[in-house]
């Protein structure tokens, strides 16, 4: 897991509409990277649905929420629509899991990102991280707000 204080590795991935998104696009703003295992899986669905309910309050804190998994763009689009969420979802598809690996969030052998949160500050530094004890558990939204209050 990447350490607090490190410079967050920049990346460029495609979102659910196929548009390129770079971490550096968010320079000057805080961004919470939500690494998650897989679109449409039960826990991931619960997690992103829950965060959607408090997304306005997260945005009020000046934080953008960005989801990252190894799924492709078409899956992301369908997942967004199925859940009724508007969180940007980025495809860490090719090379598979490269960005998750850079953040220490890739589960080798399983082929998915672990369930982790990484708060990147306005200067592109890692301000806070959270790693779920196992992919079957996700941090409640209160964990995000606790981090933002630090």
């Amino acid at each position: 897991m990447i350490a607090v204080g490190e410079q967050a590795p920049d990346f460029t991935l495609r979102d659910e509409d196929g548009e390129e998104v770079s971490l550096s696009d968010y320079r000057g703003r805080k961004v919470m990277l939500v690494f998650y295992p897989a679109d449409f899986s039960p826990v991931c669905s619960d997690q992103l649905s829950l965060y959607q309910e408090v997304k306005p309050q997260i945005a009020e804190k000046g934080v953008e929420l960005v989801g990252i998994s190894v799924d492709g763009g078409y899956a992301h689009k369908a997942f967004q629509e199925k859940l009724g969420i508007d969180t940007t979802l980025l495809s860490d598809f090719e090379p598979k899991g490269e960005v998750a690996r850079a953040y220490g969030s890739y589960l080798d052998g399983v082929g998915i990102a672990n369930r982790t949160l990484v708060l990147v500050d306005e200067d592109g530094k890692v301000a806070w991280t959270y790693e779920s004890p196992n992919p079957g558990e996700f941090p409640g939204a209160n964990v995000i707000f606790d981090a933002l209050a630090e």
Partner: protein, 163 residues
């Protein structure tokens, strides 16, 4: 907007929806659109003691949930909160507006008042207060059961085993 940092669930207060007598058996955060909650609701009501229901609709998962919670809250303003909750969980396939109106008629309630109450801003605020208290307590799925001290209880239907 409210602070959503971690905090224990609030103690039961005068605006809580509580049924039963005696010791508090369970405080449940539930989503009226959630099938797991529907399955658990019957078991919850078999417990001895008082049961408290707190709203925890997750609209993106269950798009009809906000309307159902508003309907329950509005029925509650006419004294029939738990009857509406029981009915909504017992018949999850009939939850469109005409079905809600039918339920109001069956309960002998004032339909015009129900319609006004369920759309009132204070109804939405009341539901949101419960929801946010659940968020602060770390509720991440429904049903989420707590005892009166705020300790989380297990639920047979609440968890999923696969990520």
């Amino acid at each position: 907007m409210e602070d959503l940092t971690s905090a224990p669930i609030p103690s039961l207060g005068p605006e809580d929806h509580v049924r039963g007598e005696g010791e508090v058996a369970v405080i449940v955060y539930a989503d009226l659109g959630c099938p797991h909650c529907a399955a658990e609701w019957r078991r919850i009501n078999q417990r001895n003691g008082r049961i408290a229901f707190r709203h925890f609709p997750i609209a993106s998962k269950h798009p009809r949930a906000p309307a159902l919670h508003a309907a329950a809250e509005a029925a509650g303003r006419q004294g029939r909160f738990f009857e509406m909750v029981d009915s909504l969980y017992a018949d999850r396939g009939r939850v469109d507006d005409p079905h809600l109106w039918e339920r109001i008629e069956e309960l002998g309630l004032d339909l015009e008042r129900f319609e006004a109450d369920r759309r009132a801003p204070e109804t939405q605020a009341r539901i949101r207060r419960d929801f946010e208290s659940g968020i602060r307590a770390g509720v991440s799925g429904t049903p989420a059961l707590f005892d009166e001290s705020g300790r989380k209880l297990s639920s047979a239907s609440a968890s999923r085993s696969r990520p």
